[in-house]
Amino acid sequence: MVNIISTKNVNVHYGDKQAINNISLDFMKNKVTALIGPSGCGKSTFLRCLNRMNDVIEICKVEGQIYMNDTDIYSNEIEVEHLREKIGMVFQKPNPFPKSIFDNVAYGPRIHGFTDKKNEMDEIVVTALKKAGLFEEVKDRLDDLGTSLSGGQQQRLCIARAIAVKPEVILMDEPCSALDPIATSIIEELITELKESYTIIIVTHSMQQAARVSDKTAFFHLGNLIEEGDTTKIFTKPDNQKTNDYITGRFG
């Protein structure tokens, strides 16, 4: 299997506080990798390093090497906008723009200038919505506000929005934590479908979710990577005692 993203000796500081300690972790192409761990363990921070979302936070300093397809994403030649075209992101709370459903999905393609023809744009939007499993529900009201959808639909809209820019990797930062169980299961199903075409890295605080959707799991604790490997192995016979304690619910 091919590694699409590989990280080496990543350290992250927020001001004086170190949030990530020397983590090296590789992500395989077309697999779902779950990052699990108790609150404040640095899993979200680590995820945000991968598409350089931490750039926006002034006090945040990232060190180490992060390569995507053998290119250093923190090198000066890389345009961060171009990088984020390749690595999409879905956030914890659904955050559709206060625009129509269509415009929400078309936002990225328009910015990156995918097409200037109306019918091609329609095609892109419809494809993305279909892939996100939302098209059937909203096909009659593409002009409605994205914010008028239900929470689960909003999150799928955000996934469609990310898919529309044709990324290779999709980062998901606890995408179901604001959703009810039914919406969660729909999104989880969607994730397993999406891994056919995308590499997915998902941060989750729900171990069941990690077990259900991921192929690989990495366990974080206090800014350290404790253990990583196949999900089945991590959840059945982890090497590390801490991992065992966490997945059996002894802390976290």
Binding site: M53, E81, E85, M89, F91, N95, F97, K99, C158, A162
Partner: protein
């Protein structure tokens, strides 16, 4: 003296707070009992009991002091023909007696020349009245002391004996305080209505002289024609047909207002975007207060800045490029006004832009958008209603603004949309209507109320729209 006593009253009531509280606590600990209310409430209870009667009596004394004085001093026994006096004579005599009362008890050797002659000019009964007044004043002074010092202490001590563990003062205290607060808001509302109705009633008087339609739809404004008018009964409304046409004032107001908005909108919005999105917290902390200082500059200063600096500069510039710019152009007034309202636009828009939730920004960045794309395509559209609201508030502020236009704009009504020409505004005309020496029953003066009413309605409508828009915007994210 009175105010010193008032201060003392507050000190006394402050003391009673601890008195009441300690008394309650003592009962609690000595009887080992549960109090019906929290200990502080016994303190508040005493404070209210002590303060309210004294303040009410003081208020009453303050209002009725002149009436009491008159009743006490102007008795028919001293002035037998009192009943036949006119009001003005009564006032004069009362005034004389008041002056007399200040010197009547001083030995004659200590008096100055003027005071002596006043004493010699007065009749015997006036002197007696003055002595009565002096004694009344000293009684009044003592009664104030009683009201402020003795009465509160006596009431406080008496009522504090009522305090026992079963006395539940909490509901009473809260009820009184709620009612005081309610009264305050009612007063504010009543004052608003009072102003509104006084405007309406005076405006109705105005419309007895001038046709409604002539006022609102005529295009000529010559209020000086009304000088010949004396009373409403004899007036021929046709005479004033062309005297009070509102239209040129409206266009002038809108003209100056639009110039102001042309200045304030771009500058205010741009600085809001900079402050909210680009400026580092440090820069923001310094820049925002400085911009807000603009709002704190007295408008009269803007006025003479516009009249003495800006207008001549514009005129000179116009001459140098061959354009005729009036020295009282709407442009100068509008520019100064625009600068004045920049902080309204920038400060409100800044708040609105900053209240756009951060996840929206991150969502846009995560799709590969740059900062400026994010601002243009996500943040500004999301903030648009709130920004519109801030614009409307600024406009309503601009059209109500008076001092700048009084100093910098013209007095001549001029139906034009050219900002280089002189124009007058509604507010300017209100001021000129009221500073003349014409009587208040003349339509030239009364028109101020009609104009004020139109202005009131205009700004009210703008404010309502702005508030509705801003509120709608808030709901969207909550």
């Amino acid at each position: 003296m009175q105010y010193l006593a008032l201060l003392l009253l507050f000190a006394v009531s402050y003391g009673f707070f601890y008195f009441g509280k300690n008394r309650a606590l003592k009962i609690k600990f000595s009887n080992n009992a549960r109090l019906a209310s929290l200990p502080d409430y016994y303190g508040y209870f005493l404070v209210l009991i002590v303060l309210l009667p004294s303040l009410l009596i003081w208020f009453f004394l303050l209002i009725y002091k002149p009436t009491f004085e008159e009743m006490y001093v102007m008795t028919p026994t001293l002035f037998p023909d009192l009943a036949n006096w006119s009001d003005s004579k009564l006032g004069l005599i009362l005034n004389k007696i008041t002056n007399l009362s200040l010197i009547v008890n001083i030995p004659e050797v200590d008096l100055m020349k003027g005071q002596l002659s006043l004493l010699n000019m007065s009749s015997e009964s006036e002197k007696i009245a003055a002595k009565n007044l002096a004694s009344f004043d000293s009684i009044y002074g003592w009664s104030v002391v009683v009201v402020f010092i003795l009465l509160p202490i006596i009431i406080g001590l008496l009522v504090s004996r009522l305090i026992n563990q079963k006395l539940n003062v909490q509901p009473l205290v809260e009820k009184i305080i709620i009612n005081i607060i309610r009264l305050s808001s009612i007063i504010a509302i009543l004052i608003t209505f009072g102003i509104f109705f006084s405007l309406i009633f005076e405006a109705i008087k105005f419309f007895q002289f001038v046709n409604f339609m002539d006022f609102f739809f005529n295009t000529s404004w010559n209020p000086n024609r009304a000088w010949v008018i004396s009373s409403a009964e004899t007036v021929d409304k046709e005479v004033l047909k062309d005297a009070f046409g509102w239209i040129p004032l409206l266009t002038g107001t809108l003209l100056v207002g639009s110039v102001a908005m042309f200045v304030a909108l771009p500058l205010g919005l741009a600085s809001a975007i900079y402050l909210a999105e680009y400026a580092s917290p440090k820069v923001r902390d310094i820049a925002k207060p400085i911009i807000e200082i603009l709002a704190g500059i007295p408008t009269v200063v803007y006025g003479f800045f516009a009249a003495l600096t800006l207008a001549p500069m514009l005129k000179q510039f116009g001459d140098s490029v061959g354009i005729n710019i009036s020295a009282e152009s709407a442009l100068a007034a509008g520019l100064a006004m625009g600068v004045m309202i920049i902080p309204f636009v920038s400060s409100l828009s800044d708040d609105v832009i900053r209240s756009v939730p951060n996840p929206l920004r991150e969502g846009s960045y995560a799709l590969g958008a740059t900062k400026s794309e994010t601002i243009k395509k996500v943040i500004l559209p999301a903030a648009l209603p709130g920004v519109m609201g801030s614009f409307l508030l600024a406009i309503s502020r601009a059209i109500g603004e008076t001092m700048i236009v009084v100093m910098a704009a013209s007095l001549r009504a001029n139906l034009t949309f050219n900002p280089l020409e002189p124009a007058t505004t509604i507010t300017t005309q209100i001021v000129t209507a009221l500073i003349g020496d014409v009587e208040f029953t003349n339509p030239k003066t009364l028109v101020a109320f009609a104009l004020g009413l139109t202005l009131f309605v205009m700004t009210l409508i703008l404010n309502v729209i702005a508030v509705v828009i801003v509120r709608k915007y808030r709901e969207k994210y909550e």
